[in-house]
């Protein structure tokens, strides 16, 4: 939601830059403008990851190139592209490459606002996702090897008995490990455990 949502505006046309900045500011977004893609890239590594609204047609480096560079640099700024006449195919291309959205110029104010709002929501979601992932990953890291194995078996949907057999330990031991895993991972049910694990990037072990 607006407030502390930051939007970066990249456009070589001063009037567009300034007017958009003014508008978004009036709606409560924080805005930072750049006159060229290069200018943005130069500062990108030190910037808080947030929404980028960029023109496609720009001298020297255009919007698509910017997208490529960001992907290369693994800078995952969500990208919204502003397209002029005849640029829709380019926009589609950009979308396939992972852009968030595009808006055709000239646009009415609420069009860009809608996009900006959706983008910021999306951003928030992602942030949540990411933080969750980070948390779960660290929790995963705290599992002992044995506990990890057990988790893998649980993810595979195996009953305790099978896990015990596979690991050559007693079912009772499996149960104990399971409880500890649940505890460490912070899951309150098996489905939640599975969800968390998958979110953390774990994959079910294939049955031997």
């Amino acid at each position: 939601m607006p407030g502390d949502v930051l939007i970066y505006i990249i456009d070589d046309d001063e009037a567009v830059r300034n007017s958009l900045s003014l508008l978004l500011d009036a709606y409560g977004f924080m805005v930072r403008t750049f006159a060229s893609a290069q200018e943005f890239l130069a500062a990108a590594s030190s910037l808080r990851v947030s929404i980028v609204i960029s023109d496609i047609r720009m001298p020297e480096m255009d919007g698509l190139e910017l997208q490529q560079r960001l992907i290369e640099l693994r800078l995952s700024f969500p990208l919204v592209l502003m397209t002029g006449d005849g640029d829709v195919p380019l926009a589609v291309q950009a979308m396939k490459a992972g852009a968030l959205d595009f808006v055709e110029k000239p646009f009415a104010a609420d069009a860009i606002l809608k996009v900006a709002t959706a983008a910021s929501e999306r951003l928030a979601e992602r942030a949540d996702e990411e933080s969750l992932t980070a948390t779960v990953s660290s929790r995963l890291a705290g599992l002992t090897p044995r506990e990890r194995e057990v988790l893998e078996g649980l993810l595979a949907g195996l009953p305790n008995k099978s896990i015990a057999y596979d690991l050559a330990i007693s079912p009772r031991t499996v149960e104990i490990h399971r409880a500890r895993v649940m505890d460490k991972m912070g899951a309150h049910s098996l489905p939640e455990l599975v969800q968390l694990s998958l979110a953390a990037g774990m994959r079910p072990r294939q049955s031997r």
């Binding site: 009037a15 003014l22 508008l23 006449d85 110029k105 860009i112």
Partner: protein, 624 residues
């Protein structure tokens, strides 16, 4: 070898045959003697004789031998002469068997009647040229054959009176010779019946000069009748038709006559007696007599040989229209009018004139058509330029639309921002003021862009020339091109000379630059992005011309095509019109410049054109 007795017989046979032939030939020849009283060389006599001889020889199957004797009894009337003449003739024709003796005119007949038996024994006497009235009461011997002359005077007068109804005076001209007198008497008799209504004067005893003088001073409403004049009042002898000529030429009244010989010599016309026809009739009669066939009825015949004839020249002279002439009139001596005489010259002249006129007409039509074609071609050129311009405009439409999008976007954003800001309390006036200003700025920019587009699409109906700095045109073109160059990712490098004044049409020259640069951008579109470049450079050549060159880093043009690229409809682009370069060439040529293509030093093509400067730059000004 033929034997003696046989040879003799043969010779005798041959001789006999020959003798028979001669005799028969001799027996078949007819001998005719013509006895003239009057001089045979007189035209009348000559005509009569000519016709007589012609008719006689053509009519007759036999051979005719004709003899002539000019007795001239009229002029030589003494008895001594007659006696000697008789003897002379008798001696002359002693050995000749004459078949027919033809007496021409009364004196000759009288002579023949008197001495004919002596001179021409056994000959048939035929007369001609004699008027019945001359004989008076005398009876002709019954064995005489002849053709009478039927001279009439009143028909001619009738005709004259019909033509000149207001006639009051009739002047009759006659001579003093016997012949003249005889004719005059005959005339008087015929004319007597007219005397009660017309005034007649008979001029007969005047010397010719006096006569002519009188005839030149006749009172108005006069008509002249010419009979014959062999001898005038002074005793001088003349040939009548010469007299007619002289009379006619000085007379102040029209002259009518009786003889066909006089027609052409000055008489207007009349009911004319033909002497030659008379000769023919006489000959016919002689033929019949010689052949032994008697004419039905008597041996003496009257044959009417009058013809109504007129002289066209006299008709013109006296202003007589054809309408007043009798129905059966024949008009002779029509002057060969200009048409007849110079017919061929006239025709050739006319056809030459017509041909000339036709050529001139043809040339005028040609010129008119050419003017129309020129006008049409001028119109077509303007149309084509406009077409090219429209094509350029639509090629640039993408970038124009994008360009317009920018200020419009800005305006929308500003307005929406202002909307929000206005709802705050208190409103931030400075910011709002700035917003309004920015809106106006963007609005102004949109207007500029639209007017660029309008200029691009504007139709110039005239090839107006005015003076301006060429750089203005270059700048205007670049303004339009930059967004497109941006869109395509082709940088345009510009090297500008200082001010260059030229005379021309700004819109069209801008068109040329647009064409060249768009072509250059198309050329580099296949190149990798970092190798695309278009360079535009202006410079001065020879101090009198400016040169603009457009260089691209594309694939260049094949050597043999460097000329062809300017051809109409030549294009290598899939959606090209093929008009851009040909239109550009037309425009440059209209501006008295030159345009051509080269291949650059590195890869790529260079298109250059030159234009004459309006004012040659002074020496010393260098390129910036």
């Amino acid at each position: 070898m033929i034997a003696g007795p046989a040879a003799l017989k043969l010779t005798l046979c041959i001789a006999l045959t020959y003798w028979l032939l001669c005799v028969s030939a001799a027996a078949a020849t007819r001998h005719v003697v013509l006895l003239f009283d009057e001089r045979p060389e007189l035209p009348g006599m000559a005509m009569l004789e000519a016709e007589f001889v012609r008719t006689l020889t053509s009519d007759s199957a036999d051979r005719i031998e004709i003899y002539r004797e000019a007795m001239d009894l009229s002029r030589f009337g003494s008895d001594t002469y007659r006696t000697h003449l008789r003897d002379f003739l008798r001696a002359k024709y002693a050995d000749k068997k004459i078949d027919a003796a033809v007496a021409i005119i009364s004196p000759a007949l009288d002579f023949l009647l008197k001495h004919g038996d002596e001179i021409f024994p056994g000959a048939q006497i035929v007369f001609c040229g004699i008027d019945r009235r001359e004989l008076g009461d005398r009876l002709l011997p019954s064995h005489i054959a002849g053709v009478f002359v039927k001279r009439q005077f009143s028909p001619s007068l009738e005709i004259a009176l019909k033509i000149h109804p207001l006639t009051e005076h009739v002047v009759v001209v006659a001579g003093t010779s016997e012949f003249d007198r005889r004719l005059l008497d005959q005339a008087r008799e015929e004319l007597r019946s007219y005397e009660h209504r017309l005034h007649f004067s008979y001029l007969t005893s005047l010397p010719l000069t006096k006569l002519l003088d009188q005839l030149s001073r006749l009172p108005p409403q006069s008509v002249i009748l010419f009979t014959t004049l062999f001898q005038d009042g002074a005793g001088e002898t003349f040939v009548p038709h010469d007299v007619v000529e002289r009379v006619s030429s000085i007379a102040n009244a029209p002259v009518y006559g009786f003889l066909d010989q006089y027609l052409g010599r000055g008489i207007v016309g009349g009911s004319l007696y033909s002497v030659s026809a008379h000769g023919a009739e006489a000959a016919k009669l002689v033929s019949q007599v010689l052949a032994g066939t008697k004419p039905s009825g008597s041996l003496v015949v009257d044959v009417q040989t009058d013809l109504v004839q007129f002289d066209w020249r006299q008709l013109q002279r006296w202003g007589i229209s054809k309408v007043s002439l009798p129905a059966n009139a024949e008009i002779r001596f029509r002057a060969p009018n200009l048409w007849n005489q110079y017919r061929w010259y006239i025709l050739i002249g006319l056809s030459a004139l017509l041909a000339e006129a036709a050529i001139i007409a043809g040339l005028v039509v040609e010129r008119y058509r050419r003017r129309a074609a020129e006008r049409l071609s001028h119109l077509r050129t303007l149309e084509a330029i406009h077409l090219n311009r429209s094509a350029t405009a639509s090629a640039l439409s993408g970038s124009v639309a994008h360009e317009l999008g920018q200020p419009l976007t800005a305006i929308m954003n500003y307005a929406a921002a202002a909307d929000v800001l206005l709802s705050r309390n208190p409103p931030d006036v400075p910011v709002l003021t700035k917003i309004m200003k920015e809106i106006q700025k963007s609005g102004g920019l949109s207007i500029q862009i639209i007017s660029h587009l309008r200029n691009l699409l504007r139709r110039t109906d005239e090839l107006e020339f005015n003076e301006f700095d060429f750089n203005e045109v270059v700048d205007a073109a670049l303004d339009i091109l930059r967004p497109e160059a941006l869109r395509r990712g082709v940088p345009i490098v510009v090297l500008n000379h200082g001010p260059m004044a030229i005379r021309g049409n700004q819109v069209h020259l801008e068109q040329v630059i647009l064409n060249l640069v768009l072509n250059a951008m198309d050329a580099v579109s296949s190149c990798p992005p970092d190798q695309r470049r278009v360079e535009l450079c202006t410079s001065i050549r020879n101090e009198a011309d400016l040169e603009l060159s457009v260089l691209d880093t594309g694939p260049g043009i094949a050597e043999e095509r460097l000329q062809n690229v300017f051809d109409t409809f030549y294009t290598t682009k899939k959606e090209g019109t093929g008009l851009g370069l040909s239109i550009s060439r037309t425009i440059i040529q209209n501006h008295r410049g030159e345009i051509w293509a080269e291949n650059g030093n590195e890869s790529g093509a260079v298109f250059k054109f030159t234009l004459p400067l309006a004012r040659p730059l002074a020496v010393g000004l260098e390129q910036k």
